[in-house]
């Protein structure tokens, strides 16, 4: 989520910029006309590629623009998790135990309900006996669960705040919880919940590892784009098109650097495939003009040549289309 700074965190890993929060992804797309590419997949469905999720990976030009325009901040995320303090670990451990108790109570209540409806003897005496038996069972289960928590190391499990329970479940009494006699170290079935965002942990501290400018990020060694004329030309051309309100996507399918859309790519077809030429004097072969022009025309697109002038920091555009004759 957007921090106190009001800037969107771009988490940098291996000199690539990722956005991990869906709200941030929506913001940069709807307010800042930058799409990126969703790359996340499920570990056991890694071959599927039709519906991808977080993280969103940004083209380097997109990340540079977001930071230069003071929309985003770069975070060296790998270093943003210092060793937790003892107190933080204790809080974490407590939350973990609370979660466990809640789960066991829910299981208990469910079992009680099922056995009550199973058509066994319904006399007051039988009910009383059964209740006593079940309470005893619950108490033992809880003790076993606690014992298993204590015996495993603090780093073995991650448990977030307890989820709200579903109604009639009542947590077992505190006195039962503290009694640990009779624990055999066996396991009680329970779910370990891994929080979706590790940044929710108390000890997550991105501030000492946040870089507010491209220069600062380069000095810290986590980022190096743009580092040469070709990359400066791409950043310049990308910015120029973006400032005119266009959306850009990857251009590989049409033989260019970008596809240029007049609005959100979910709503519009692209009108142009753009290629960036890093100097007005760069060699341009007629065969390139033919290839770009013909491909674009066949797909109802024109090809844009975006020529970067590094002295003037300006972009000039030429549009190529098949002439329609000859």
């Amino acid at each position: 989520m957007t921090g106190e700074s009001g800037r969107i965190p771009l988490r940098i890993a291996n000199k690539k910029a990722y956005v991990w929060d869906v709200d941030d992804i929506a913001t940069i797309r709807s307010k800042h006309n930058i799409c990126g590419i969703l790359t996340g997949t499920l570990p056991h469905l890694s071959q599927q590629n039709a519906f991808l999720g977080v993280p969103l990976v940004l083209m380097p030009e997109e990340a540079v623009l977001l930071v230069e325009n003071e929309i985003a901040v770069m975070i060296d995320d790998a270093r943003a998790y210092p060793q937790p303090t003892l107190q933080q670990l204790q809080v974490w451990n407590l939350q973990q135990q609370e979660e466990m108790k809640l789960q066991l109570a829910v299981i208990e209540a469910k079992e009680a309900k099922e056995s009550a409806n199973s058509g066994r003897a319904m006399s007051a005496e039988a009910l009383e006996k059964r209740r006593a038996r079940e309470e005893k069972k619950a108490a033992q289960a809880t003790r076993l669960a606690e014992a298993s928590i204590v015996s495993s190391g603090p780093s073995a499990l991650l448990v977030p705040e307890p989820a709200p329970s579903k109604g009639e479940a009542t947590p077992p009494l505190a006195s039962q919880m503290t009694d640990s006699s009779g624990a055999k170290g066996s396991t009680v079935a329970h779910t370990i919940v891994i929080p979706a965002a590790s940044s929710a942990q108390d000890w997550y501290d991105p501030n000492p590892h946040s870089y507010w400018t491209i220069v600062a990020a380069k000095e810290a060694g986590i980022w190096d784009y743009p580092s040469n004329l070709e990359e400066r030309a791409k950043c310049g051309a990308f910015r120029s098109l973006w400032e005119q309100g266009y959306f850009m996507g990857g251009g590989i399918k049409f033989g260019g650097d970008y596809l240029v859309y007049p609005g959100d790519p979910l709503r519009y077809h692209s009108h142009f495939a753009a290629s960036v030429i890093h100097s007005p004097q760069s060699p341009l072969r007629p065969m390139e003009i033919v290839a770009h022009g013909r491909l674009g025309t066949a797909t109802k697109k024109a090809h844009l040549l975006c020529s970067w002038d590094d002295d003037k920091k300006e972009v000039s555009y030429l549009t190529i289309e098949w002439a329609g004759f000859g």
Binding site: H271, Q281, L284, R285, P286, T297, S316, L318, E321, G326
Partner: protein, 118 residues
């Protein structure tokens, strides 16, 4: 080439820019005889060391420009821009690309970001 009916009008520009003479001669003849353009004239482009062709498509009023080149040449953005500025910045020029087997293809080069026709 010298006996071709269009040589007379082209001889001056062909002799001045011999390296571009082949493409010029081929493009000019294609524009005049195959495309049947009207009011065809030759304009000199000193920076590009060649001539350009000006004319109108049959039954239209817009004056269009053709800049010839061969497939083997190496151009640049600044080369195209100098041709455009010499032709007094028309919205577009046609680049006539010729090859050794006498085939020719035209590509429209427009200034700025121009949306393709729907």
């Amino acid at each position: 080439m010298e006996s071709h009916p269009s040589f007379q009008g082209l001889s001056e520009i062909l002799e001045k820019y011999p390296r571009a003479a082949g493409a010029m001669f081929q493009a000019y003849n294609d524009v005049v005889y195959a495309q049947q353009w009207a009011d065809v004239e030759v304009i000199e482009l000193p920076d590009c060391k060649r001539g350009a062709i000006k004319g109108r498509k049959p039954d239209t009023d817009d004056v269009l420009h053709v800049v010839p080149c061969t497939l083997a040449e190496t151009l640049s953005i600044s080369w195209l821009q100098s041709a455009l500025s010499h032709l007094l910045n028309p919205p577009q020029v046609y680049l006539a690309i010729t090859s050794e087997d006498a085939s020719i293809v035209y590509y429209k080069i427009s200034q700025g970001i121009v949306k393709p026709p729907v």
